[in-house]
């Protein structure tokens, strides 16, 4: 079945057409037929980009004022005899929507019924920037493709299996009951995909092993996957917690915030922007938010680039240690995301000195692996480390198939707090 996968932002729509079904999923032979996006929605010079494997990229500009016009445009291009890949929109069997926040309401991917949509609306307070944009994409797509099923796949759902001692913060309990203030975690689709794929590569039964998955991209998070269930992850109430990221601070002493607001007379907006957009690799190094640039500067002897790199990698190592303890051991450590897949330096630093727990990096092998599925530990290493490129769109497409076939697993919480 051809599935349209949509990831709608406030001024952009990213899309893929993925061909998949139960057999292809089993064989890991899903196929991406087209990748593209519409950027600058709301402006007079919106751009559509379409990449079809084996063809040169196609792009076009026009005025697109809202999401519906953007998706109509996408569909027109997809059925275009010259640049498209399908003969009619009837070929699209279903639509999968990435939805950032499912709160505590959603512990799996679901068919988007009116009830589900209104529950997603209710989660907006938890993700005021993302959920409204995701929903705008849904409303637009549903208006045009009203005959096919639409499925929501949440970034948070997979982490709903965290126990309360991992998801609750140590602040007065009333804020949890009043505002649902707790840790949710993000990148769930990615952590789920790469841990699953790692078990396939290693020929392991997934339900028997313990994984630590490191998603290191624009945003970075790490998860402890104990026998197929996420039991802890580094991002929390928002994607700001945990690892150092391109422009995000990750973990810090919360007392810093009121202290800085007082000392620097900063407003809430300034503190928020500072932590989300001026921190991380960029804020520490002063060079760039891009790890490749930071590494270049580090090689040239730039001291702050070096320390930014070290904070980044050290924190990963620290979390690996913590999650190993949390699971009473680990069987495989998986790296994914742009940095995780392409930076041997980060992987080497993050895994340095872990021989005590049975993880021995194959230094040469690690240095060669970039953007491909590969093991990076020695043959003797008791704990495996590997690189697995993520594919969140595939997960979304596969979940559409699972939901339609009624075999979607639910990541049910082990306990509820009242």
């Amino acid at each position: 079945m051809k599935i349209l996968v949509l990831n709608s932002g406030s001024s952009s729509v990213k899309f893929q057409i993925v061909e998949t079904d139960l057999e292809r999923m089993q064989a890991h032979q899903d196929e991406t037929l087209a990748i593209g996006q519409v950027e600058k929605i709301g402006l007079s010079d919106s751009r559509l980009l379409l990449q079809v494997p084996g063809r040169s990229a196609y792009q076009d500009y026009r005025e697109v004022l809202e999401h519906r016009a953007a998706i109509e445009w996408v569909l027109r291009v997809l059925v275009d005899p010259e640049n498209g890949i399908i003969s009619s929109t009837d070929e699209i069997g279903a639509v999968g929507h990435r939805v950032v926040h499912g709160g505590e309401a959603f512990a799996s991917s679901v068919l988007m019924t009116p009830d589900v949509v209104s529950q997603i609306e209710e989660c907006t307070v938890l993700a005021p920037l993302h959920n409204p944009a995701n929903l705008r994409g849904y409303y637009a797509a549903h208006a045009i493709l009203s005959e096919v099923p639409h499925v929501a796949v949440f970034d948070t759902a997979y982490h709903q299996t965290m126990p309360a001692h991992a998801f609750l913060y140590g602040i007065p309990f009333q804020f949890y009951t009043k505002h649902h203030l707790r840790r949710y975690g993000f990148h769930g689709t990615s952590h789920r995909f790469v841990s699953y794929r790692a078990s396939q590569i290693l020929g392991w039964e997934r339900a028997e092993k313990r994984y630590i998955t490191c998603h290191l991209g624009n945003g970075c998070s790490i998860a402890a996957i104990d026998r197929g269930r996420s039991i802890d992850t580094s991002m929390g109430f928002t994607p700001l917690e945990g690892l150092l990221m391109g422009t995000r601070s990750g973990d810090l002493d919360p007392a810093i915030i009121p202290w800085l607001m007082a000392m620097e007379e900063m407003t809430l907006h300034q503190v928020n922007t500072m932590l989300n957009k001026h921190s991380g690799l960029y804020g520490v190094s002063g060079v760039s938010s891009d790890m490749r640039e930071v590494l270049k500067a580090r090689d040239a002897g730039h001291q702050r680039a070096d320390v930014a790199f070290r904070i980044f990698s050290y924190r990963i190592r620290k979390y690996i240690g913590a999650y190993t303890a949390a699971m009473g051991g680990v069987d495989a450590v998986v790296f994914t995301g742009g940095i995780g897949e392409h930076s041997p330096e980060v992987r080497a630093w993050a895994l340095d000195g872990l021989g005590f727990m049975g993880l021995e990096l194959d230094v040469d092998r690690n240095a060669r692996v970039r953007g491909e599925e590969a093991e990076i530990t020695t043959a003797e290493s008791a704990v495996k480390a590997l690189v697995v490129p993520t594919n969140e769109e595939w997960v979304i497409a596969r979940d559409v198939i699972r939901v339609l076939n009624d075999i979607m697993p639910s990541f049910t919480p082990p306990e509820t707090m009242t």
């Binding site: 709301g42 422009t247 503190v271």
Partner: protein, 302 residues
């Protein structure tokens, strides 16, 4: 034809014009910013860049946002830009003839119910509007200092302003991320009218030697949770402007509470105009940071 807000023309690229242009561009709209000459436009563009750099340093925006903002602002010298715009706002000096002429120029080029916004705190919207062909599309907006961070704007309805136009201007205010306070035309509206007697009284207290300027400010700041004391506020606005406003209010209303404090007049005559000259009631460095704070007037954790 349905009206939607996509293109905004701003006449005058002074501090106010640039601030509004920045906010409009940040919200994803296109701006035409008109100045009298390309030379003047270039000067203003450079000043805007410096301001945006300062905003980056203060963590208000990012480098990328700066680029996006600059790319959405188109610098022009002709009124032609108004033909394409959905709303026009003038931000030129507080001179009646100047504003009237601009409104007439804009009125000729824009569809009848597209709003023309006058940015004033003292001039009569109704009187300026009456000089145009479509007075019902003219209204006022009064932004408060500092424009970028103050969340409020007074949206001023003139005698002839049509409801449909007024509602569009309210939508514009929301787009700028400001809270619109709906007011009818009356000297000083709400904010200016209420704050000036307070500031004037604070100056009288200082002049009478009851307390020092620093202590008057600190008392109000801590006592009533003001972010800035009234005298520092006046310094930051510019004492010459404060004097103009209060004189105007005095002329319009004849009320004794708007009689300018002699100390204010004296400072203005001495050229001590506040932050922009480095000295007013207090002293400031070139970055407008106040140099003479009392030890108790420090941010700190209570």
């Amino acid at each position: 034809m349905t009206w939607e807000l996509h293109n905004v023309s701003i006449i005058g690229a002074g501090m106010m014009g640039r601030s509004i242009a920045t906010k409009v561009a940040q919200q994803g709209l296109n701006v035409c910013l008109k100045e009298i000459s390309m030379e003047r436009a270039e000067e203003c563009r450079q000043t805007l860049e410096t301001t945006l750099d300062h905003q980056i340093a203060r963590f208000n925006i990012t480098e990328t946002e700066k680029k996006v903002i600059l790319s959405r602002i188109h610098w022009v010298t002709q009124f032609d830009c108004a033909e394409e715009c959905d709303l026009a706002i003038e931000t030129v000096q507080e001179k009646f003839d100047l504003k009237r002429d601009i409104v007439q120029e804009l009125d000729r080029r824009m569809p009848a119910e597209y709003p023309i916004v006058i940015n004033t705190s003292t001039l009569s919207i109704t009187e300026i509007a009456a000089a145009s062909q479509n007075p019902g599309r003219v209204l006022g907006m009064h932004f408060l200092y500092p424009v970028t961070s103050t969340r409020v704007v007074e949206v001023v309805r003139g005698q002839l302003t049509k409801d449909v136009v007024y509602d569009r201007a309210v939508e514009f205010a929301r787009l700028l991320d400001k809270v619109p306070i709906k007011v009818f035309e009356m000297p000083g509206f709400v904010t200016t009218r209420v704050v000036l007697p307070l500031v004037n009284e604070a100056m009288h207290v200082v002049m009478e030697g009851v307390a020092s300027a620093a202590e008057v400010d600190l008392a109000l700041k801590l006592g009533y949770d003001f972010r800035t004391g009234p005298l520092e506020w006046a310094d930051r606005v510019g004492l010459d402007r404060v004097l103009n406003w209060i004189q105007h209010m005095f002329q319009e209303t004849g009320e004794a509470r708007f009689r300018p404090c002699p100390l204010l007049k004296r400072l203005v005559r001495a050229g001590l105009l506040g932050t922009k000259t480095g000295r007013g009631f207090f002293t400031y460095d070139v970055n407008r940071r106040r140099l003479d704070r009392l030890p108790d007037d420090r941010p700190g954790l209570a």
